[in-house]
Symmetry: C2
Subunit: 212 residues, 2 copies
């Protein structure tokens, strides 16, 4: 297998552990000469298809623990984190915007993904709102950056409702399910799956040794 195959990074924009891993995965991969393909998906779709549930669903002691653990894990990893006042949030607008941008400019889409995650988990923005998504994109100069009309139409605002972009997100969720993704974050390196931000040390060990 070609060891320069990109790593796949599956995540939902509402996943705190997805945010934590998003702040580290590119640098860890780059250290070992690998690129990362980012794939925002909708956990609601994944959970429904797999029969899974949110990790703390209905278990109050686990819910309390996890809210605390998000924050502590962020400190442990040296990542800014402020518990959002609205959580979890629907993320289809963020994911659609990502794929619309990605059709035109991969690097810009990556910047946008970071901005959405930081907007949600640092600045407490309501990233479910189309207006907030448009503002995040605007701050990255999206209107100026797009040189041609990408799939989904000529403006981000219309793209959020375009059938092409909805279909693209659906197709990504289906691909995730076929790859065995059942939660967020989920990293796949040459067929080897790693679930959770806490698998970062194993991911690094795997990249370093080519499997252990």
């Amino acid at each position: 297998m070609n060891d320069k195959t990109p790593i796949d990074f599956w995540f939902d924009f509402s996943s705190p552990y997805g945010y934590l891993l998003s702040e580290k995965i590119d640098a860890v991969a780059a250290k070992y000469g690998r690129k990362v393909k980012w794939h925002p998906v909708l956990l609601g779709v994944i959970f429904q298809a797999t029969g899974s549930r949110p990790p703390a669903d209905g278990v109050s002691s686990k819910g309390t623990y996890m809210l605390h653990d998000f924050h502590r894990s962020a400190r442990h990893m040296g990542i800014a984190y402020n518990p959002p006042s609205r959580f979890p949030l629907p993320t289809q607008n963020a994911a659609r915007a990502y794929y619309w941008l990605h059709g035109q400019d991969c690097a810009l889409a990556r910047q946008f993904a970071h901005a959405v995650y930081r907007g949600f988990f640092v600045d407490d923005l309501d990233v479910s709102s189309p207006a907030v998504i448009l503002e995040i994109a605007s701050k990255l100069g999206v209107d100026r950056a797009l040189k041609e009309v990408p799939l989904g139409g000529s403006t981000l605002e219309t793209a959020l409702q375009s059938p092409e972009i909805k279909a693209r997100l659906k197709e990504q969720c289906e691909t995730a399910l076929k790859a065995g993704v059942f939660g967020s974050p989920h990293v796949i390196i040459d067929g080897e799956a790693f679930f959770g931000a806490d698998r970062l040390p194993q991911i690094e060990h795997w990249l370093e040794t080519g499997g252990f």
Copy 2:
């Protein structure tokens, strides 16, 4: 708070991640001058009380992943692991034997706990069986080691069915629930909870810094 308070380590003998943490927790705690109190409990009781379910319950892709992750996590941590042919197993006999031994000799109970875990996750023993539990204890010289009659009777065989030992295990499960335990392994350091073997780096960081 007295920083020499023992750490509480809650686990079920059928929990692979509990086994992994059991191989590390004492040494990590000792490095920072702390002792560890081991508390085997029954996850079935914990799940029923909290409304929780086994992590991969009904989600086949997650179940497949976890079986693989147990093994890979063991390799990553440098711990012997052979996937047991019978999994999971009921662990009330192992837990009762632990508490019976603990009433007499804490160090022997600790050795016994290691032997049960290694018997299950290295030597593929059926640790649900009273005969296997008695044999594990016998190999540790339990008949010779016990100097007086502990709570639960004079032999391990009768203790496995004694009301006193059953009550002790039930009480430990209730204490676990009061402490917020919802799974295995669950470590509590001065009121701070850490769930999962993958929290070991955070546990060590916490012990080193007194909180971060």
